[in-house]
Assembly symmetry: C2
């Protein structure tokens, strides 16, 4: 039985150049480029096939609908959005440094060229593909917010922070860190920020979040 699945059952006729899975992978990569370059409506299946270096016939055998191809492109890429927050690792640093590091991770994730292109596509097509919008939100927003909120809560238990609503605080933190940078990039008005820019903004946001900016108390 193990042998059956390993040994390729050679049959008559011209053999496939690649297994279908590999060809499909080529198609999905080509489609990602095409959709990102032109958006859903203006992307054409002919272009996708050309980018992939195969004929439309072969492409349609593997993935018969444009809408399905789009869904596959998006959902394959949504999986990248896991924000790794390792509390034990972060505990090695003092509070401000730890928060800064968390924000750098988060910023690098959400401000990459690829993420921004993906988000632009999902927003633009959220009417036509609401299930993609929901999936994106669940993974890229809810889960990363929860990861940050969990870390905040941990700091509260340690007595380092005093927060009533960690989820709300995490949401605010995300917003101050990435909103403007992400939107400028989505609108095509700025390149995705460099690591240095991300670090600088993380440092600023950590300071603001922890200390506020009121001069009265100082």
């Amino acid at each position: 039985m193990g042998q059956n699945s390993v040994i390729p059952k050679r049959c008559r006729g011209r053999p496939q150049i690649r297994p279908d899975e590999e060809t499909l992978e080529l198609v999905v990569e080509a489609a990602a480029a095409e959709f990102q370059a032109n958006g859903y409506a203006s992307a054409t299946m002919c272009n996708v096939a050309q980018r992939a270096g195969i004929s439309t016939k072969t492409m349609y055998r593997l993935i018969p609908r444009k809408a399905d191809l789009f869904k596959k492109v998006i959902s394959d890429r949504i999986g990248q959005f896991m924000l790794q927050v390792d509390p034990a690792e972060l505990d090695k640093y003092d509070l401000a440094d730890a928060m800064e590091r968390m924000l750098v991770s988060f910023g690098s994730l959400t401000l990459s060229e690829e993420t921004i292109a993906l988000l632009r596509l999902v927003i633009g097509e959220s009417e036509r593909f609401p299930e993609l919008a929901a999936a994106f939100h669940e993974i890229a927003v809810v889960q990363t917010t929860n990861a940050m909120a969990g870390w905040l809560e941990r700091q509260c238990r340690r007595g380092a922070l005093k927060i009533d609503n960690p989820v709300l605080s995490a949401s605010a933190l995300r917003g101050m860190m990435t909103m403007d940078l992400q939107r400028s990039a989505m609108l095509g008005l700025a390149a995705a920020p460099t690591p240095d820019e991300i670090r600088a903004r993380a440092k600023f946001c950590a300071g603001l979040f922890l200390n506020g900016c009121q001069s009265a108390g100082e």
Copy 2:
């Protein structure tokens, strides 16, 4: 000369039902609804004419290209984005209240159904219409940020705040106030927030911005 321009020069033939300007206004409103409902690519000129209650012939006489119609819809609506920050008015309140009020104004502006629909359109079509993206950014982002930054700077001069970079701080403040709410709405996952929700978030953000959340100093 004044009379010449006031007296309508009646000429032979069937008179227009409305002056062209009014008809064009109908078209633009109809187009706004159509674009918001379907996006640029899926909106059809036939639907626009139907919504406006006119024929395609009349519509094309007034605005010959779909792309031009889209530009007109968007740029007509970009003008609404002036954030009014009246320092004299805000000075009547204490710092936290004043900031809360400013954030409520800002939130009401940027989190309305209409603004969110507009932003979604601009983002989705920023490849095809980069000049619209640039105009939107200048008016809706740069100018409102500057208005907020100006107010922050004023508070610094009064000694109420201590801020190195008011523009960066304003950007952070905007982000924490609106990012998540706006994105959920843009993705179609939540309705635009109610005035109560906006007020609550403004209060939270003002507190966080002014005081931070570190418990060590308390």
